[in-house]
Subunit: 99 residues, 2 copies
């Protein structure tokens, strides 16, 4: 399982619209083969900052499968204009999980 | 539920020792009232970079409960000397969870 993670800054005052767009866009990312789940969290200390976390079966499910899909064009249309600046998206593999 | 999240950079070449220290340190954070779970993931694109995610019942469970505890002194002793620079720790509340 691969974790896609990035911190993103939304244009000032557009948080509510961004959250609504993300709810609408969820079905597009979720339609991708190899998609497992995703979460969005709003920062308590920094207004208009969020963290995005998605779980993929493989790195390529995201970098090739989703980014090469028609669904990604819809995702971009709905979400990318909120970002300022455009975020750096990175991928991670789990080394510890504890509860 | 509150998400504590930060990206951290470990001193060059110390990734394996850091991961071992985190496995040893896990019981200290997990002993805190209000702790739910935590995960550590290693970055695929950037050597020596990790992301740390912990779930807490409330913000204060972390900022006051854990940071004010004796367990935190053990956590610091085991883990803080790996960080370069020291990370900015932020907290988030969930706005979307989808699968």
């Amino acid at each position: 399982m691969i974790l896609e993670a990035f911190v993103l800054n939304v244009k000032a005052g557009m948080g509510s619209q961004f959250e609504e767009a993300m709810r609408e866009a969820a079905k597009y990312i979720a339609s991708t083969p190899g998609y497992s789940s995703h979460e969005i969290h709003r920062c308590l200390e920094t207004p208009d900052q969020y963290i995005f976390l998605a779980r993929w079966e493989t790195l390529e499910s995201h970098t090739q499968g989703f980014r090469g899909s028609e669904a990604y064009q819809e995702w971009k249309r709905l979400t990318h204009h909120f970002y300022d600046p455009f975020p750096t998206v990175l991928h991670y593999e789990q080394v510890l999980s504890y509860k």
